[in-house]
């Protein structure tokens, strides 16, 4: 198994799928000549040419609209949004067109579209460019929302997303491109809609995904020093949400927290907690706590930004609280 970065994993997935299927093409701002703002598509333009790696105007509405049209006629576009914050400019296409066309036209059309979007805060990009609005998109039936926490999952899930006949929003965390992890040799796929236990433990369940996984793993190490063994369930996909491993873990530990980078209100944590109460009520020994971003537009100042984002000590504290 090779140990590669998240960036390399995503890049490999794209390249493998483009090699495999000529219908796969990439479009977005600066994805071509420049090789992508986060250098994910570096070298793609030279390899596949301007027809399959298309630089677009700075018009998210146009990018997603064009991608939807191409998908409806049989192509498999991978549209890149430089940041997920720009998705709001294309909101109608993302939540009101792509997920619904298949239903609105009696199944005559499929929309095999992947939107890669860079999300998350922590890079001092200011309130409008640092958001983690994953839950907003996961609200809409018809749109699959995937957000991996390891290179292995990123590669396997992106390949599956590209092969999916449904539109998929694939959210990559801006601070995780350098995260290294082992990736299986050769081709592999990871199904969308399957949560995974990333660390086993018996005392408490931490439900999380993406950046939250990185933080939770660190928190779990710290907790282990105090004799608390946390089990970490990585959702990987927000829609469709797979609660099975969460519930299985919770039935064992009876205590859980949910860690997400987005804001707490109406968030992923609320959804997961609610499902635990609905589906495992008799196993609840303490309220499920949510660790999430402070309810403020994310500050620019580094100290303030870091204090507004969920951190390892917040997770440790929440676990201790829930174990009281």
């Amino acid at each position: 198994m090779a140990k590669i970065t998240m960036r390399e994993a995503i890049s490999q997935a794209l390249m493998e799928e483009m090699d495999r299927d000529p219908a796969v093409f990439i479009l977005g701002e600066e994805v071509g000549v420049w090789g992508g703002t986060y250098a994910v598509t570096k070298g793609f333009y030279d390899k596949y040419g301007p027809d399959r790696v298309m630089d677009t105007p700075i018009a998210e509405n146009a990018i997603i609209g064009a991608a939807i049209g191409a998908a409806m006629v049989g192509q498999r576009p991978v549209a890149e949004l430089m940041t997920i914050n720009f998705a709001f400019s294309a909101m109608d296409y993302i939540v009101n067109q792509a997920p619904k066309l298949h239903y609105m036209f009696g199944g005559q059309f499929k929309v095999p579209l992947v939107i890669r979007a860079v999300g998350g805060g922590g890079r001092q990009l200011g309130a409008t460019h640092s958001q983690t609005p994953d839950a907003i998109f996961a609200h809409f039936p018809g749109l699959k929302v995937v957000s991996p926490g390891t290179p292995e999952d990123a590669k396997g899930l992106l390949k599956t997303a590209i092969r999916s006949d449904d539109p998929v929003l694939f959210i990559e965390h801006a601070t995780m491109y350098q995260v290294r992890g082992e990736v299986p040799d050769g081709e592999y796929l990871i199904p969308i809609g399957k949560s995974k236990v990333q660390r086993e433990g018996k005392d408490v369940t931490i439900v999380t995904y993406a950046k939250g996984l990185e933080l939770s793993l660190k928190a779990a190490e710290e907790l282990a020093k105090g004799g608390i063994e946390a089990e970490i369930v990585d959702l990987r996909t927000l829609r469709p949400l797979d609660m099975e491993p969460v519930l299985e873990s919770f039935k064992k530990t009876n205590r859980a927290i949910v860690v997400e980078e987005g804001w707490k209100s109406y968030g992923v944590g609320s959804e997961v907690a609610s499902r635990i109460y609905e589906q495992a009520f008799d196993y609840v020994d303490a309220p499920v706590l949510r660790v999430a971003q402070k309810e403020v537009p994310l500050p620019y100042n580094r100290t303030l930004e870091q204090s507004a984002l969920p951190q390892v000590p917040d997770i440790v504290a929440a676990v201790k609280e829930v174990l009281k």
């Binding site: 009876n254 009520f281 008799d282 196993y283 609840v284 020994d285 303490a286 009281k324």
Partner: protein, 438 residues
């Protein structure tokens, strides 16, 4: 070193208390054991004693505030000591008593002036002991009634349901006293005295009979009594033995003694009965005991509980080491506690730890009655009135003082013969009262 005084946990499920009044102010000297404040739990107003001697340096909460159990309320230290905001040593007042089978040591006595007047009026009359009703509901073994639903996690509730554990008897250790799974498991393993295996008693829905029907909400005291009595009658097999006592000598002696005592210290008939029962119990350790599943616990001390009628209910005050106390001391102690109970102010120590009880309805012209055992005690004596009745002595009809008493006994612990022997032995004291003076 300054000591922090915390809100004591005075009941099985007490979670907070209202600090009603500070008895000591900042700057006042206080000795260990002095009353520092009065707090009101959901059942009674209780005096909190200082667990340290020194100067009251800081009162941390204002009168009237609701304080969670365990939160600091005052700092006691030396006069010149520097007090910072977070003293290092937290001491709980000694009021708390953590044993497996005790719980809320106090019950709300509410405002009970009526009874008090009654008993005062009767004090001078020879055959009238203080009012003592038939049933006893102390909190000493009950987890007192809880306000609203029981705080328990869904998992704890499920485990309790599956194992027939009465959650109201399980002490919660989770946040805010919430019962969590491990508490129920502890109860199951016997670490807590939850009543296990007992099905809840169904209460038939009353049928309205007229438009004038009134629904009277239960006071906490009433709730506690209701639950305790159901528990006792459903889980403790009672049997009863009645004995008639010849108390001419006792009445005479009481009269003689009382001639030398000031009005407020006069001995009641009940004082003699309490003393006699305690001395008899010393010879019948099996009746001074508690049934504990696979064993009987024989108590080392004889602490006699005395049922006291209070507004809307009753509770039991406890005289400790009754067998060792002179009558006059015993009488004073009981008088003090009865008065406290009727004023709604009892110390936790006054109502916990009894090993046997006495209920006396003598003042109400009752010939005889039977009382319900106050678990986990093994017995209770119900005392009727001392009455002048025609008696046959040496073939002649004469007038004599007689008094009937009925003992109720836990049949799991003892049997009829032992109870009858006990009642006979009691006669040796009651009929030869001078034995109680030596």
């Amino acid at each position: 070193m300054a000591e922090m005084i915390s809100m004591p946990k005075l009941g099985f499920d007490m979670q907070e208390g209202v600090l009603v009044r500070w008895v000591k102010n900042e700057g006042e000297n206080v000795n260990k054991g002095d009353v520092l404040a009065e707090i009101e739990t959901d059942k009674a107003t209780v005096e909190v004693e200082s667990s340290a001697s020194g100067v009251v340096r800081k009162l941390l909460v204002e009168a009237g505030s609701v304080v969670p159990v365990g939160d600091p309320i005052a700092v006691v230290g030396s006069a010149d000591e520097k007090i910072d905001d977070a003293p290092t040593k937290v001491v709980e007042p000694p009021a708390e008593k953590k044993t497996d089978d005790t719980s809320g040591p106090e019950l709300k006595t509410e405002e009970g002036q009526a009874r008090k007047e009654q008993s005062e009026a009767k004090a001078a009359e020879p055959p009238a002991p203080p009012a003592q009703p038939a049933v006893i509901a102390t909190a000493q073994t009950a987890a007192p009634a809880q306000e609203g639903p029981i705080k328990a996690s869904p998992l704890a509730k499920k485990v309790a349901r599956d194992n027939n554990v009465d959650l109201s008897r399980v002490q919660g250790t989770g946040p805010g006293g919430r019962v969590v799974r491990k508490d129920v498991e502890a109860a199951l393993s016997g670490a807590q005295s939850a009543s296990v295996g007992r099905q809840p008693v169904s209460t038939p829905m009353p049928v309205p009979v007229s438009a004038e029907d009134q629904a009277i909400p239960l006071t906490k005291l009433r709730q506690a009594i209701a639950r305790r009595m159901v528990e006792s009658t459903t889980s403790v097999p009672h049997f009863y033995v009645t004995h008639e006592y010849k108390i001419d000598a006792l009445m005479t002696m009481r009269k003689q003694i009382n001639e030398y005592l000031p009005e407020n210290e006069k001995l009641s008939v009940n004082d003699f009965i309490i003393k006699a029962a305690a001395l008899t119990l010393r010879e019948f350790p099996n009746l001074n005991s508690s049934f504990a599943g696979d064993k009987v616990i024989r108590h080392g001390s004889v602490n006699v509980g005395v049922a006291v009628a209070v507004e809307g209910g009753l509770l039991t005050v406890v005289n400790r080491n009754t067998d060792q106390q002179p009558l006059r001391a015993l009488s004073a102690d009981v008088k003090r506690m009865v008065a406290g109970a009727r004023e709604g102010k009892v110390k936790p120590g006054d109502i916990e730890g009894s090993t046997f009880s006495i209920s006396n309805l003598g003042m109400f012209d009752v010939e005889n009655f039977a009382a319900i055992i106050n678990p986990p005690e093994a017995g209770i004596i119900a005392v009727g009135s001392a009455r002048q009745v025609p008696v046959v002595e040496n073939g002649e009809v004469k007038i004599g003082w007689r008094m009937k008493a009925t003992i109720s006994v836990d049949h799991r612990v003892s049997d009829g013969a032992e109870a009858a022997q006990f009642m006979q032995k009691l006669a040796e004291f009651l009929e030869n009262p001078v034995r109680m003076l030596v």
